[in-house]
């Protein structure tokens, strides 16, 4: 899916003065940010801060109430663009009656993978998330961590140039989490732009850049070290409190 012309023009993600309201409740307030090509951008914030809503706007599943979202230079929501985006939802959206292989095959077909390519990609991604030996098992027998890994594998199937991961490593053991992070770095080095959400501070440290989000507002953006430095704090947690106005 690489090499679409539009994508070469303005790679990455741009969010410009975005508001999102559900009825009268304002969930996102004037968010402006940019995710540059090839970086791993982390959205850090507590639950309920608006991370998932922002991510859905970028993934084209919702429309902002105000403002604009661009992915690879294309105004979202855009149906064709969805072929270039890999999305992993916060809750594992899998068909529990079906086997892992059947789930993979189904989602692969939806993004246009068929025949030998599909087979090869399924092999590759399942190797990556360490599920190759469990493909014939129905999802109902999977543990939470296994489902998380399968969701990630599905998001990677079509080699998307933009990867959007909503809380990707919840319930995954440290060893596997490390190997997933290694793979995310590989992907970003080979040209994938990654946007992920997290509320785990040590995971946030691993991102190229971070956006701190609280009550629907982006309170700080920068590399983890920059953020700590300018807040004059030892940890990201402290920095978050400083930017959030809780601690001076």
């Amino acid at each position: 899916m690489h090499g679409e012309q539009t994508s070469q023009l303005q790679p990455g993600i741009k969010v410009i003065h975005v508001d999102k309201k559900f009825g009268k409740v304002s969930v996102l307030k004037d968010i402006t940010m940019e995710v540059k090509a090839n970086e791993i951008f982390g959205l850090l914030g507590p639950s309920g801060s608006g991370k998932t809503t922002l991510v859905k706007l970028i993934a084209g599943m919702a429309e902002p109430s105000n403002g604009e979202v661009y992915v690879s230079g294309v105004r979202m929501p855009n149906l064709n663009m969805l072929n270039n985006i890999g999305y992993m939802a916060q809750s594992d959206a899998l068909y529990s009656e079906l086997t892992a292989l059947e789930n993979l095959a189904f989602f692969a077909a939806l993004v246009g993978l068929n025949g030998a390519v599909r087979k090869q990609r399924i092999e590759e991604v399942t190797q990556l998330v360490n599920l190759a030996n469990f493909l014939k098992r129905p999802i109902a027998t999977y543990s939470g961590g296994m489902k998380r890994r399968l969701s990630l594998a599905i998001a990677l199937l079509h080699r998307p140039e933009i990867l959007i991961l909503d809380e990707p490593t919840v319930g995954i053991d440290p060893v596997l989490r490390k190997s997933i992070w290694d793979e995310l770095r590989n992907l970003s080095q080979s040209g994938t732009t990654i946007l992920l959400t997290t509320h785990v501070m040590d995971e946030a440290e691993k991102c190229t850049r971070l956006g701190m989000i609280r009550d629907g507002r982006l309170i700080a953006v920068g590399a983890p070290d920059e953020l700590k430095q300018s807040a004059g704090s030892q940890s990201l947690e402290d920095a978050f409190l400083v930017y959030g106005g809780v601690r001076k």
Partner: protein, 344 residues
Amino acid sequence: MRVRSLILRIVRQFFRDKRTLALMILAPLLILWLVALIFNGNTYHPKIGAVDIPRQIVTRLVNQGAVVESYSSNAAALNALSLQKLDAAISFADGVPHITLEGSNPSKSKTVLLLAQKVLLQPANPMPSQMQPPVIRYLYGSANMSSFDNFGPVLIGVFAFFFVFLIAGIAFLKERTTGTLERLMATPLRRWEMVAGYVVGYGIFTMIQACLIAWFSVGVLGMMMNGQFLYLLLVTLLLSMTALTLGTLLSAFANSEFQMMQFIPIVIVPQIFFSGLFSVDNMAPWMRRLSEIMPLYYGADALRNVMIRGKGFLAIWPDLCVLLAMSLVFMALNVFALRKYRKI
């Protein structure tokens, strides 16, 4: 292509869920069979207590199909009546027959009265010998048509509609509650493709169900069938299609399986009342017109035309058109309702 993989997935899922498959395919057959057992039985033989009535009348009562028991006194007969051992007690006072009915079941009471009229009035009002008995002809149906034959076609429609509505509705709802629908909307799958996939995927099972119900009703239960089997199939299938599209549409307005069940008294039960199972002729005219928005009304009308009246395509095509149009409208609305998950 995407629709095809969606259909394949639905079929696979359905085969994994054997119980739901059985519910959709076998439950309508079971219920139809039970209904046939109840209504196809032989005519009812009323139990009559005779208190001191002429022997010839007793003989005639028995000949008409009554079970007659003699009682020595009125009190004894009334006692048996109150214990529900009898449906009626007949006695004579001053040459006038007195009939006391148990009376809690109107159809039993009617049977008794009809029978008593035949037996007791005949000698007093003998037919003039020159008058011939009338020649009776049936435009549709026949003398030995049972009530099951009459409402059987409606029942075929009701059960096909009910089970498809519920199962398709809950399946689509599950797609919402498990988050897979939202996940699908993050793929290039178009909203109409989603709806089309469900209509065809569940349509396959709907078709199997329609075939089985039609075959079972006619072939096994021996329901009256004067028309073409093909038309019966066509009507059942189109009616199920309406149920399928309506069920998936309404699942947008339910947040749980429990709430989906709440549509049964709102969507299903009124349709049964208006489907022709019960006569609505006594209803206020404006209320009667409510049936015009109910898919089951059109389905049942077409089914009766085919099965009882033996009519062909010319008689049922308006009904079929309405069902088809309703399905299309429900599908279009569903495509629109999916905007909740993705605007484009």
